[in-house]
C-alpha cells in the first residue's frame, strides 16, 4: 500500500474547493430542513405540505450525494457514478412502487379505509 488510508486532503490542490463544497452542502441542507419544518408549521393544505416535504427531501438527498459524497456526472468517475445512481434508483423504485402497489391494493380491500370501525380493536380484550 503506497497511499495512507487516513484520508488526508492534499493541502495545495483541492482543500479549499473541498471545504467550499462541504460548506455549501451544509447550508443547503440546513435550508431544506428548515423549509420542511416551515411547510408543516405554515397553514398549507396537507397535500401541499406533503408535496413540499417530498421535494425538499429529494433535493436534500441530491445535495448529500453531490456535496458530501462527491458524486458527479463529469470527471473521471462519471460512468461508475451514473451506473450507481441508475441502479439505486431502480431498486428504490421497486421498493417504493411495490409498497404503493401492495398497500393501495390492501387499502382498497378494507371496508372504507377509515379508522372509525377499527378503533374498538385498539385496546386488548384481556
Amino acid at each position: 500500500m503506497t497511499k495512507p488510508n487516513t484520508g488526508e486532503l492534499d493541502p495545495q490542490d483541492n482543500a479549499a474547493s473541498e471545504v467550499r463544497s462541504y460548506a455549501i452542502g451544509f447550508i443547503v441542507s440546513l435550508l431544506l430542513t428548515v423549509g420542511a419544518f416551515a411547510a408543516v408549521l405554515a397553514d398549507l393544505p396537507s397535500t401541499w405540505a406533503i408535496i413540499c416535504i417530498c421535494i425538499a427531501a429529494l433535493l436534500q438527498i441530491i445535495t448529500h450525494l453531490r456535496n458530501f459524497l462527491h458524486l458527479s456526472f463529469s470527471g473521471g468517475q462519471s460512468r461508475e457514478d451514473l451506473l450507481l445512481v441508475l441502479f439505486s434508483v431502480s431498486l428504490l423504485a421497486i421498493m417504493a412502487g411495490g409498497t404503493w402497489y401492495i398497500m393501495s391494493d390492501l387499502g382498497g380491500r378494507m371496508h372504507d379505509g377509515g379508522e372509525a370501525g377499527h378503533a374498538a380493536h385498539a385496546m386488548p380484550d384481556r
Binding site: 500500500m1 421497486i94 380491500r109
Partner: protein, 701 residues
C-alpha cells in the same frame, strides 16, 4: 413493570431476574430460565477467571480487540458467531424437548417443559440469534478474512470502520445475551410483528431488547456492506479485473450490494416501531391512521434479500471447494457470476411471498409468486455448475466435501419446498405451519450453516497455521446432516397434518411419533455441536502434526494460498501483479510459483486503535439504557458516539510502518522453508506429510 421509573435506575429493580421467578414458583420452566441465566453468569465468570489466570488480557486487548486487521476482525466475528450458535442450538433443543412433552388434554390443556410465555421467548431469541448473531457474523467474518486475501489487497478499504461494525454487532449480541439475566426477551418471534409488539399488547422490556439489538447491529451490517463494496471496487490488486475475481469475491460483492440496500429497510421498520413504542406514534396501530400491515411490508423488503445475503457467501464457498477438492477448474464461471448477480437483483422483487395471506388481491399474489419461482432458476444453474465441476474430477472426500454433498442432497429439497410455497394457493394451506419451519431450516441449515462450516474448515489453516482434524471434521458434518434430517423432515409431515408453528401446546396425539423423531434429531444436533467444538480442541492439541507452514494445504488456485500459514498481518510481501483468473493456479502451471519478489518495500498498515471498542461500549450502553428507560445513561452514551468520532477526526493518526527489512526477513524465511519441505501429493493430503507444500505437478485444474 410495577411502580415508577426511577431517575437513576429506570425500570430496573431486583424483580427482573429469572431467580426471582424461581423463588416465587419452582417448576420446570423457571428452573430452565434460572439455569440458563446461571450458565451465562458462570460462563462469564469462568471466562474472566481463565483470561486472568493465563494473563491473556493484555494480548487479547493488544492483538485482537484493538486490531483493525480485517483477518483478525473476521476471526473475531466467527468466534462471536460460534458462541451464539451454541446458545441457538441449545435453545432449538429446548424447544424440541418442550414440544415432545407438550401434548395437552382437554382437561389440562397446557403441558410441557416450559411455560407458554417462556416458550415464546425461546423461539424468539432462537430465531433472532440464529439469523442476526450466527448466520450474519459467520458470513461477514468469513468474507472479512478471505476477501482481501483473494483480491490481493492488504486490508479492507476502511479498516477502522470495520472494527466499528464488529463492535456494533457484538453490542447487539450482548443485549440479547443480557436479556437472559436481566428482564425478559420479546415474545413476538424473530419478526416482531405489531400490533402484538406494540406498547398496548407488549408493554414490557422484551420487544425493546429486540429493537435495540437489531437497530445497533443492523447499523453495523450496513457499514460492513459499504466497506465490502468499496474494497472490491477500489482495492483489487493490479490486473485483477472483475472477471478475474474468484467466485467468492463475486458473491461477496452481491452480499455487499444487498446489505447496502436491504439493511436500511430493517432499520426503518424498527425505528418506526421504536417511535410507536417510545413516543406514542401510530405507524403500526389501527388507531390514528396507522397501518400494521406496512410493518410486514417494510420488514420483508429487508427480510427476503436477507435470506440471499445469508446464502450467497455459502454459494461462494461451495464454488471454491468444489473446484479445489476435485482438482478441476470451476465449471461455468461466467454463468455463476451472472446467476449470482441475478439472484441479488431478483431477490429485491419477491418480498410479498412472506405475507401472501395478509389480504391483498389475487393479482398481487400472482405477480410476486411468479417472481419467486423465477429466482429458483439461477439457483438451479449454480447447482448444475458445481456438479459439473466435480464431474470426473478426482474428488477427495474431505470434511468440506461432506458438507457439500449434504448440501446437494438437502438444499435441493428445501429449494423445492420453497417453490411449492411460492404458489399462493398452496401457501394459503400451509402458511404458519411447521411445513414452513421445515422449509426454511431446510435451506438455512444445509445452505448457510454447512457452507460456513465448510468455509471455516477450508480456510482455518490459513488463519492458524494448522489443519483441522479431517476425521472429526467429517464426523461433525455427518452429524449435522443426520441431525438435520431427523429434526426437520418430521416437521414437513406435522405441517401437513395441520400443526401451527410456534405452538406451545397441542391436543392431537397423532403428532407425537413425529415429535419424538424430531427430538431425537435435536439430540443429534447437540452432538454435532459438541463434535464441532471437539474438532477445534483436538486439532489444537495435535497442531504440530497438523501444521502446514507452506500455506497451501489443499493445492488451491486462488491468491490466498500463496502466503504462509498462519498468514502474516501484511498478507503479501508485495501486492501481487495478477495476470489471469486463478492467478496462483496459473503460476503453478508455469512452474515454480514460490518466486520471491525482486524488491521489498516498507508496508504501511493501519495502527491499532480502541475506537471500535469504545463505540461498541457506548452502543451497548445506549441500547441497555433505552430498554430500561435509564434516560441519563441513554443521553450520555448517545452523545458519546459522535463525540468519539469527532475526537478521532481531530487527531492525526500515524499508520504503522513495517520496514522492508522485516518483511524481507520473514518472506525469505518462508521461501526457504517451502523449498526445504517435501511436496505432498493429494493422496497424502490428510496425512502428516502434508506440510502445506503441494506437489504442483499434480495441479491440473
Amino acid at each position: 413493570m410495577s411502580g415508577q421509573t426511577s431517575p437513576i435506575f429506570g425500570n430496573l429493580n431486583w424483580n427482573v431476574t429469572p431467580y426471582t421467578d424461581l423463588l416465587r414458583d419452582v417448576n420446570s420452566s423457571t428452573i430452565v430460565g434460572a439455569g440458563a441465566a446461571s450458565v451465562l453468569v458462570l460462563g462469564a465468570i469462568a471466562g474472566v477467571a481463565f483470561l486472568t489466570y493465563m494473563r491473556w488480557w493484555g494480548p487479547l486487548y493488544r492483538n485482537w480487540l484493538t486490531s483493525p486487521d480485517a483477518k483478525k476482525i473476521g476471526v473475531m466475528y466467527i468466534v462471536l458467531a460460534l458462541v451464539m450458535l451454541a446458545r441457538g442450538i441449545i435453545e432449538g433443543f429446548v424447544i424440541r424437548a418442550h414440544q415432545a412433552t407438550a401434548l395437552g388434554t382437554l382437561t389440562a390443556q397446557e403441558s410441557g417443559l416450559v411455560a407458554p410465555d417462556h416458550f415464546a421467548q425461546l423461539f424468539s431469541t432462537h430465531g433472532t440469534i440464529m439469523i442476526f448473531f450466527v448466520a450474519m457474523p459467520l458470513l461477514i467474518g468469513l468474507i472479512n478474512f478471505v476477501l482481501p486475501q483473494q483480491l490481493g489487497a492488504r486490508d479492507m478499504a476502511f479498516p477502522v470502520l470495520n472494527q466499528v461494525s464488529l463492535g456494533l454487532t457484538a453490542a447487539g449480541a450482548a443485549l440479547v445475551m443480557v436479556s437472559l439475566l436481566i428482564g425478559k426477551f420479546g415474545t413476538g418471534g424473530w419478526t416482531m410483528y405489531p400490533p402484538y409488539t406494540g406498547k398496548i399488547f407488549s408493554p414490557g422490556e422484551g420487544v425493546d431488547y429486540w429493537l435495540w439489538a437489531i437497530l445497533i447491529s443492523g447499523m453495523g451490517s450496513t457499514l460492513t456492506g459499504m466497506n465490502f463494496a468499496v474494497t472490491i471496487f477500489k482495492e483489487r490488486a493490479p490486473g485483477m479485473h472483475m472477471m478475474r475475481m474468484p467466485l467468492f469475491c463475486w458473491t461477496s460483492l452481491c452480499v455487499a450490494i444487498m446489505l447496502i440496500y436491504a439493511m436500511p429497510a430493517l432499520t426503518v421498520s424498527s425505528l418506526m416501531l421504536v417511535l410507536d413504542r417510545y413516543a406514542d406514534f401510530h405507524f403500526f396501530t389501527n388507531a390514528s391512521g396507522g397501518n400494521m400491515m406496512n410493518y410486514a411490508n417494510i420488514f420483508w423488503m429487508f427480510g427476503h434479500p436477507e435470506v440471499y445475503i445469508l446464502i450467497l457467501p455459502a454459494f461462494g464457498v461451495f464454488s471454491e471447494i468444489s473446484s479445489t477438492f476435485s482438482g478441476k477448474r470451476l465449471y461455468g464461471y461466467t454463468s455463476l457470476v451472472i446467476a449470482s448477480m441475478s439472484i441479488a437483483v431478483i431477490s429485491f422483487t419477491v418480498w410479498l411471498h412472506h405475507f401472501f395471506t395478509m389480504g391483498q388481491s389475487a393479482g398481487v399474489n400472482i405477480a410476486f409468486g411468479i417472481a419467486t419461482m423465477i429466482i429458483g432458476i439461477p439457483t438451479g444453474v449454480k447447482i448444475y455448475d458445481w456438479m459439473a465441476t466435480m464431474w470426473r474430477g478426482r474428488v477427495r472426500i474431505t470434511a468440506p466435501i461432506v458438507y457439500l454433498t449434504g448440501f446437494f442432497l438437502l438444499f435441493v429439497i428445501g429449494g423445492l419446498s420453497g417453490i411449492i410455497l411460492a404458489n399462493p394457493s398452496i401457501d394459503y394451506q400451509v402458511h404458519n405451519s411447521t411445513f414452513l419451519v421445515a422449509h426454511f431450516h431446510n435451506v438455512i441449515i444445509p445452505g448457510v450453516l454447512y457452507g460456513m462450516l465448510a468455509g471455516i474448515h477450508y480456510w482455518f489453516p490459513k488463519a492458524f497455521g494448522f489443519r483441522l482434524c479431517e476425521t472429526w471434521g467429517r464426523r461433525t458434518a455427518l452429524l449435522f446432516v443426520g441431525g438435520f434430517i431427523f429434526t426437520f423432515m418430521p416437521l414437513y409431515v406435522l405441517g401437513l397434518m395441520g400443526m401451527p408453528r410456534r405452538s406451545p401446546t397441542f391436543q392431537n396425539p397423532d403428532y407425537m411419533p413425529w415429535m419424538y423423531i424430531a427430538a431425537v434429531g435435536a439430540v443429534l444436533m447437540l452432538c454435532a455441536l459438541a463434535s464441532l467444538f471437539w474438532t477445534f480442541w483436538t486439532s489444537y492439541r495435535n497442531r504440530l502434526s497438523l501444521a502446514v507452514p507452506g500455506g497451501d494445504p489443499w493445492n488451491g488456485s486462488t491468491l490466498e494460498w500463496s502466503s504462509p500459514a498462519p498468514v502474516p498481518e501484511w498478507s503479501f510481501p508485495r501486492i501481487p501483479q495478477v495476470t489471469a483468473r486463478d492467478d496462483w493456479g496459473e503460476a503453478k502451471r508455469a512452474g515454480d510459483p514460490w518466486k520471491a519478489p525482486e524488491r521489498y518495500c516498507d508496508i504501511e498498515m493501519p495502527a491499532n486503535t480502541a475506537h471500535g471498542l469504545l463505540i461498541a461500549a457506548a452502543a451497548t450502553g445506549l441500547g441497555f439504557a433505552m430498554v430500561w428507560h435509564i434516560w441519563w445513561l441513554a443521553i450520555l452514551s448517545f452523545l458519546a458516539i459522535p463525540g468519539l468520532i469527532a475526537l478521532r477526526g481531530l487527531r492525526v493518526i500515524e499508520p504503522k510502518i513495517i520496514t522492508a527489512a522485516e518483511v524481507e526477513e520473514a518472506d525469505q524465511r518462508f521461501r526457504q522453508q517451502v523449498a526445504s519441505l517435501a511436496p505432498a501429493t493429494r493422496a497424502d493430503e490428510e496425512t502428516e506429510r502434508n506440510r502445506g507444500v503441494p506437489d504442483i505437478s499434480e495441479f491440473a485444474g
